[in-house]
C-alpha cells in the first residue's frame, strides 16, 4: 500500500513537472506584459528598466529554473498587475474555488444519486428515460447560458437567491447548481450502469433470496459496489468542475481561481497564469490521489492488494 501511494505521488510529481514547462512556455507566448503595465508613451529605456526590474530580461532557462525553484516553496513571484505576491492572490481565491467545487460536487451527487439509482431500478421505463434526459440536459446547454438564465430568473425576477458574489450560504446555490448540473450526466451514467451491473449480480440475487428487504438490497448491497466507478472518476469530475468554474465564476462574480486565471491571461500576468495552472493541476493530482485511497477504503480487494 505504501509503495502504491508513493508511486502515485511520484507519478503526479512527474506530470506536474511536465506541466510546469508547458505552462512556463505558454505564459510567455501570451505576449509582453509590459505593454499593459507601462503607459503608452513609455520609452525603450523605460521598457528595458521595467524588464530588468521584473526579471524578464534573464535567459529563459534561468527564468524557468528560478520559477520552479521558488514555486516548490510556494513562492510564485509577484503578480505583474497587482504587484502583490501571487501566492497571496491564490490564498485569497483558492478557498472560494474549493468550497464552490465541493458544493457543486455535493449538488451533482445529490442529483445523480437518486436519478442514477432510480433509472437503474426502473430500467427501461419512462422514468428511466426521463431521468437520463434530465441528467444529459445539464451537459447539453452551455453553462454560461444556464447561469445567465438562472441569474435573470431566479435572482433577478423571482429574487429568491443572491445573484452573485459570496454573500454566505445562499450564494452557493445558483453557481453550485449550474456547475453541478454540468457533471450530473456523467455521474448518473456511471451510477446507472454500475447499479445495473450490480443489481444483476449473483450476490444481489442471493441477498434477495435471503429475504433482505428491497431497499436494503439497493442501498446497502448494491450501492457500495456501484460507488466504486463513481469514486474513481471523482478526480476527473473535480477537474471539470475547476475548469468549467471560469465561466460560472464570471457570471456569478465568484472570487475564485478561474476569474484570477482569466484576469491573469487578459493582463498577460505570467506569474499568475503559471501559478493558477499549477495549483489547479496540483489540486487535481491530490484529488486523484485521495480518490485512489478512498477507493481502497471502499473496495477491500484493492486495500489488501500489494
Amino acid at each position: 500500500m505504501i509503495r502504491f501511494v508513493v508511486s502515485r505521488v511520484l507519478q503526479s510529481l512527474v506530470a506536474l513537472a511536465i506541466l510546469s514547462v508547458v505552462v512556463f512556455v505558454l505564459a510567455r507566448a501570451t505576449g509582453d506584459p509590459l505593454q499593459l503595465i507601462l503607459p503608452m508613451s513609455a520609452t525603450p529605456e523605460e521598457y528595458a528598466e521595467a524588464r530588468h526590474y521584473l526579471g524578464l530580461d534573464r535567459p529563459y532557462v534561468e527564468q524557468y529554473l528560478s520559477f520552479v525553484g521558488r514555486a516548490v516553496t510556494g513562492d510564485f513571484g509577484n503578480s505583474l498587475r497587482a504587484r502583490r505576491p501571487v501566492i497571496e492572490l491564490i490564498q485569497e481565491r483558492l478557498p472560494n474555488s474549493l468550497r464552490l467545487a465541493a458544493f457543486a460536487m455535493g449538488i451533482s451527487l445529490s442529483i445523480a444519486f437518486p436519478l442514477g439509482i432510480l433509472a437503474a431500478v426502473k430500467k427501461g421505463t419512462g422514468l428511466d428515460r426521463t431521468a437520463q434526459v434530465i441528467a444529459v440536459l445539464g451537459q447539453s446547454l452551455p453553462t454560461f447560458w444556464v447561469a445567465i438564465v438562472l441569474v435573470e430568473v431566479v435572482a433577478g425576477r423571482l429574487q429568491w437567491l443572491p445573484a452573485g458574489g459570496n454573500q454566505g450560504f445562499t450564494s452557493y446555490v445558483l453557481p453550485g447548481f449550474t456547475l453541478g448540473w454540468f457533471v450530473v450526466a456523467g455521474m448518473m451514467r456511471l451510477l446507472r450502469s454500475g447499479m445495473l451491473e450490480v443489481l444483476d449480480s449473483e450476490y444481489v440475487k442471493l441477498a434477495r433470496v435471503k429475504g433482505v428487504v428491497e431497499h436494503r438490497v439497493v442501498w446497502m448491497h448494491a450501492l457500495k459496489n456501484a460507488l466504486i466507478p463513481v469514486v474513481t472518476f471523482a478526480g476527473i469530475y473535480f477537474s471539470i468542475l475547476v475548469t468549467t468554474a471560469i465561466v460560472v465564476e464570471t457570471v456569478f462574480a465568484w472570487p475564485g481561481l478561474g476569474r484570477l486565471a482569466y484576469e491573469g491571461i487578459s493582463s498577460r500576468d505570467f506569474p499568475v497564469i503559471q501559478a493558477v495552472v499549477l495549483t489547479t493541476a496540483a489540486i487535481v493530482a491530490v484529488v486523484n490521489l485521495s480518490v485512489d485511497c478512498l477507493y481502497a477504503v471502499i473496495d477491500p480487494r484493492i486495500r489488501h492488494a500489494r
Binding site: 421505463t125 442471493l206 435471503k210 429475504g211 433482505v212 471502499i298
Partner: protein
C-alpha cells in the same frame, strides 16, 4: 411418502421480451417431501432456474409474470401472498444456493457481515451472540477457524470455501426447502464431491426438502431421490432416479443419457442431440421436442402430449407412451 413440503401445480411464468412473450415455465407440477431431493435437469434455458425463482417470486422484473398455477409451502399458498409476506418466506422458509460461488458473495463486505445478516434478520440476534452464532454456522459447514474467516473478505477465500459460506447462510434459518441451483458447476471435482457430501449432511440434519438443479446427470444419480427432466418450460419426464436412468421413457431423456460419456466406454463420438434448440418465442404447435425427435410422429407436430404413466411413479409427456387407442 410423507407429507410434501412444497407442492407446485400447473405453474406458469411468462417472460415478455422484444421477441415476444416466452412461456418460460409452462404448466409445471411437482412436489418434494421432507428429506427428499428432487433433481431438476435440462439444457440451459429449459426453465429450471425460472421454475425455482418462481417459487420465491424473484423472477426478473418487470419482464416476467407468474400467470397461473399454485405453489404451496406446507400447504400454504404462496402465489397470492403480498411482497412483504414473501420477504419473510425467502431465506427463512425457502433458501437458495446460487450457481457461482465466486460472485454470490458481495465483494465489498466482509464474510462476517454477510453471514451475520440472515442471522440478525431471522433470529433477531445482536452483538456477541450474533458473532458467536455466525462462527458456529461457519463451523457447521466445516469451515476451519471460523472466527478468523468472519473477518475475511470474499476474495480471500477459495471457491469451495465461498460456496460453503453461501451454504451456511442458506441454513441459517434453517429453511424448510433448500433450492440448490447448480451449486457445484464451478468447483473442481474433489471439492464438488466434498460439497455434495456436505449438502447431504445438512439435509439429513435439518430434514430439508431439496431441489437440486443441474446439468450433471452424474450428480443426479448420486444425491437425488427423484428426477424431473425439463424441456422448453415443461417437465417432459419425471420419476424415481433409478427408473429414469434405467428406463427413460421420453426420447429427450434418452438423448440426454446417451450424451453422457461413460467412463471406460470408448465411444467413437458423443451422441449429440440433433437439430436446433427450440426458439422459445416460436414454439411449434405440438410437442416442443418434435423438430429434434428421432422418433417423431405426425401427431407430435399438431398435438401437445399430456402426461402419461410410464412406469411406477414415472410419467412422460410423449405420445409414444400413449395407451393404445388413447
Amino acid at each position: 411418502m410423507s407429507v410434501p413440503v412444497i407442492e407446485v401445480h400447473d405453474l406458469r411464468t411468462h417472460l415478455v421480451t422484444r421477441w415476444g412473450t416466452i412461456k418460460a415455465v409452462d404448466g409445471v407440477s411437482f412436489s418434494v417431501a421432507e428429506g427428499e431431493t428432487l433433481g431438476l435437469v435440462g439444457e440451459s434455458g429449459s426453465g429450471k432456474s425460472m421454475t425455482c425463482l418462481s417459487l420465491v417470486r424473484l423472477t426478473p422484473r418487470p419482464a416476467s409474470h407468474i400467470v397461473g398455477g399454485s405453489v404451496r409451502l406446507d400447504g400454504d399458498e404462496l402465489t397470492t401472498k403480498t411482497e412483504a409476506e414473501m420477504q419473510r418466506i425467502r431465506g427463512r422458509k425457502i433458501a437458495m444456493i446460487l450457481q457461482d460461488p465466486m460472485s454470490s458473495l458481495n465483494p465489498v463486505f466482509s464474510v462476517g457481515m454477510q453471514v451475520r445478516e440472515p442471522l440478525a434478520m431471522y433470529h433477531g440476534l445482536r452483538g456477541a451472540t450474533l458473532t458467536e452464532r455466525a462462527a458456529a454456522l461457519l463451523a457447521s459447514v466445516r469451515i476451519p477457524s471460523p472466527a478468523a474467516r468472519l473477518r475475511a473478505f470474499p476474495y480471500q477465500l477459495s471457491g469451495g470455501m465461498r460456496q460453503r459460506v453461501v451454504g451456511a447462510m442458506a441454513i441459517a434459518a434453517p429453511p424448510r426447502l433448500l433450492i440448490a441451483d447448480e451449486p457445484t458447476t464451478s468447483l473442481d471435482l474433489t471439492i464438488q464431491a466434498q460439497y455434495l457430501g456436505l449438502l447431504e449432511e445438512l439435509q439429513d440434519r435439518h430434514r430439508l426438502a431439496m431441489i437440486f438443479i443441474t446439468h450433471n446427470l452424474g450428480i443426479v444419480s448420486r444425491i437425488c431421490d427423484r428426477v424431473a427432466v425439463m424441456y422448453a418450460g415443461r417437465i417432459v419426464e419425471a420419476g424415481p432416479v433409478r427408473r429414469i436412468f434405467t428406463a427413460p421413457a421420453h426420447p429427450y431423456t434418452q438423448a440426454l443419457l446417451e450424451s453422457i460419456p461413460r467412463l471406460g466406454a470408448r465411444t467413437e463420438r458423443l451422441t449429440a442431440i440433433e437439430g436446433q434448440p427450440p426458439d422459445l418465442a416460436r414454439l411449434p404447435g405440438g410437442c416442443s421436442f418434435a423438430p429434434r425427435c428421432p422418433q417423431v410422429m405426425d401427431r407430435c407436430r399438431t398435438e401437445a402430449p399430456p402426461e402419461f404413466e410410464a412406469g411406477p411413479g414415472q410419467v412422460s409427456r410423449c405420445w409414444l407412451r400413449a395407451p393404445a387407442g388413447g
